[in-house]
Symmetry: none
Subunit: 423 residues, 2 copies
Amino acid sequence: MRAEIVAVGTELLLGQIADTNAQWMSQQLAAIGIDVTHHQAVGDNQERIVEALRLAASRADVVLVCGGLGPTEDDITRDAIAELAGVPLVFHDDLEQMLREKFRRWSAIGSMPQSNLRQATVPEGATTILPDRGTAPGLIVQLDGTRLYAVPGVPDEMREMLTGTVLPELRALAGGEVIVSQVLRVAGMGESAVAERLADLFAASSNPTIAYLASMGEVKVRLTAKARSEDDAGALLAPLVEEVRARLGDVVFTDRDESLEAAVIRLLTASGRHLACAESLTGGGVGERLTSVPGASAAFLGSAVVYTADMKRRVLGLTHEDLSGGTVTEACALAMAKGTRDLFAADVGLALTGAAGPDPHDGAEPGTIWVAIADDVGLVHARGFAARGERDRVRRWAEQGGLDLVRRYLEGIPLPETSLPVG
Amino acid sequence: MRAEIVAVGTELLLGQIADTNAQWMSQQLAAIGIDVTHHQAVGDNQERIVEALRLAASRADVVLVCGGLGPTEDDITRDAIAELAGVPLVFHDDLEQMLREKFRRWSAIGSMPQSNLRQATVPEGATTILPDRGTAPGLIVQLDGTRLYAVPGVPDEMREMLTGTVLPELRALAGGEVIVSQVLRVAGMGESAVAERLADLFAASSNPTIAYLASMGEVKVRLTAKARSEDDAGALLAPLVEEVRARLGDVVFTDRDESLEAAVIRLLTASGRHLACAESLTGGGVGERLTSVPGASAAFLGSAVVYTADMKRRVLGLTHEDLSGGTVTEACALAMAKGTRDLFAADVGLALTGAAGPDPHDGAEPGTIWVAIADDVGLVHARGFAARGERDRVRRWAEQGGLDLVRRYLEGIPLPETSLPVG
């Protein structure tokens, strides 16, 4: 089965945004065994949208069109699809009701602008995909030999419809073969080191396959098997998963495709313990990530974001001695971890301090990071390491280093050693 | 002058990378007044590359093709261009010398692989662009009515050739039109409400043009003018910018294309004041955003992330009375704002509390948000509102509402009223 993706939006042609929707959709389609042969992007211009869709429909079994379903006058994907299919646009009372109901619930936004009624019109004969997050209904139109799906350009609205409707339908249409993936997520080891340990497996793999995806501070190892049934695919996968786990060891923080923060919340909740953080260079990023996990309040008490030396003293009670070497030191990180454990009366305190850059900070080179934990039975452990790159990258590595320290502590495995010279 | 961008590479169709080259090239072309009407992406398949180039050449004055100029067997853009132009590939001795010379200089890489000689073949009649960083020569081919430029897909090799050769040539060919854009960024008003206020301007606009781009909790309004010179474009733009500002009023938080957190840090720094936050549902997200701005430490002291009612009492000193209605109330938000101002000895305290969802929290419906500020001369102001959607979206709207409250306070403009029933 062949698919083609058509993105609609002048902002793409002006270079205001990159077409990350096409990337995400392509990944998802590849994962269910559908070949994507072309991407196209066109502006908010009806003639060009129709022309692009006609071309796509002439060569693909499935066309995904993304964008141009909003409420404003430059949102004309609905009109273009109607023109392509040779049908009129018709007004759906039930969509109007859905829209009015959404605006009633979101009363802060005020009453529904008249323009949103555009979103209640659909090409005659089209099936609609009702939106959960946004207001734009998706559309499914069966053309001669091609199935066309139109989804909104707002990324989370697009993903909701792909995940909820489009991909399951395509998986069923594609028939027969089942693709099963398992992802092992790794923190504390770089992509090339991971690849080196798995090189011979990678070279030999055809089914299941191994793929790497590195993002900031993390490597995902995706193992994918294709078979007649889920059970068969699972049986192909199991020995490879075991081998990869054995080779990588305890840098694998999960085999559930959960984020590092979700693994930490899961481990805390399972052990009935409560965590508090003290954040300097990360500015609240660790708390933000932990609280993005539903149910975090059972395990996470809070975070003292203390962005200056004065506030480390005032809020966390650090002493002159704690800060004698500056704020980017082992002593400062340990005192912050103990201080926040006391402030929040937590079982475990995690502290993060460092020089995010671009300039040196308090005598420390940009990229210098100290993370530390302190627990309720007197264990304290600090780790110093260096991250390279821009400010946001250094902060991300600090978050990963801190969260992984807690993960290892809770799993009872060896805590990482300092890789910075200490003294 | 119309341009079209064709990207070549199977990795794009598999979703392994996003087409950020097309984004960057589009920005550069827009800046010199060249309209980009289409993007296409195709895999490493000669027939499809030729088809895509033929289509592009049929409708554009300029075609930029990016990728497929490397030394390996799947690099076939050279072959496709030769087929399209109906000419043979010819071997250039001077390109071979250039390649051998590069490999001699990079002796660490070892001797030149035989495959690199592919890069010394070019379609007959093509002009070459010599590479500085990489090994792939760029190509310029004059087709009937269309000028085609082929550049490597490695981003810095592509940029080098665009900046050094392609853009200067196109600027000269385009006869000097210049495009100037100004972006107004809006918080606290949805895209459709913005569009409604500007509908007649939008309908009437051709030069300058108006475009909207909505992202979570924010709308960007981009005004773009095309003229003979920067001054002329600026003069076309100025009255429209003024009119749009007048119609939208104080929901425009900046005309500098800076983020809301950067605007808040700028305003705080200019007034010499210090901010502290108290975050419940946002979990540290406001602190994280504020500290992503370089120089934030001059204006931001820290944030008390207090994720449970107990911690609001323990860390911020909230009383039984403050919490009598639960944690998602005006009284709680106001007490948190005052509490964090005291804790950090700040000039201004900002508090955020709410029910992020998916379930009701402490008696409040998911999406209910209270933000509040307290200052050093006794001003306190709280605002309650409702946000729609998933947990991450509710949190984002809370951040925007809180940051915008501080922005308005610092600009001395009216603070938004509560749009939730209070009682």
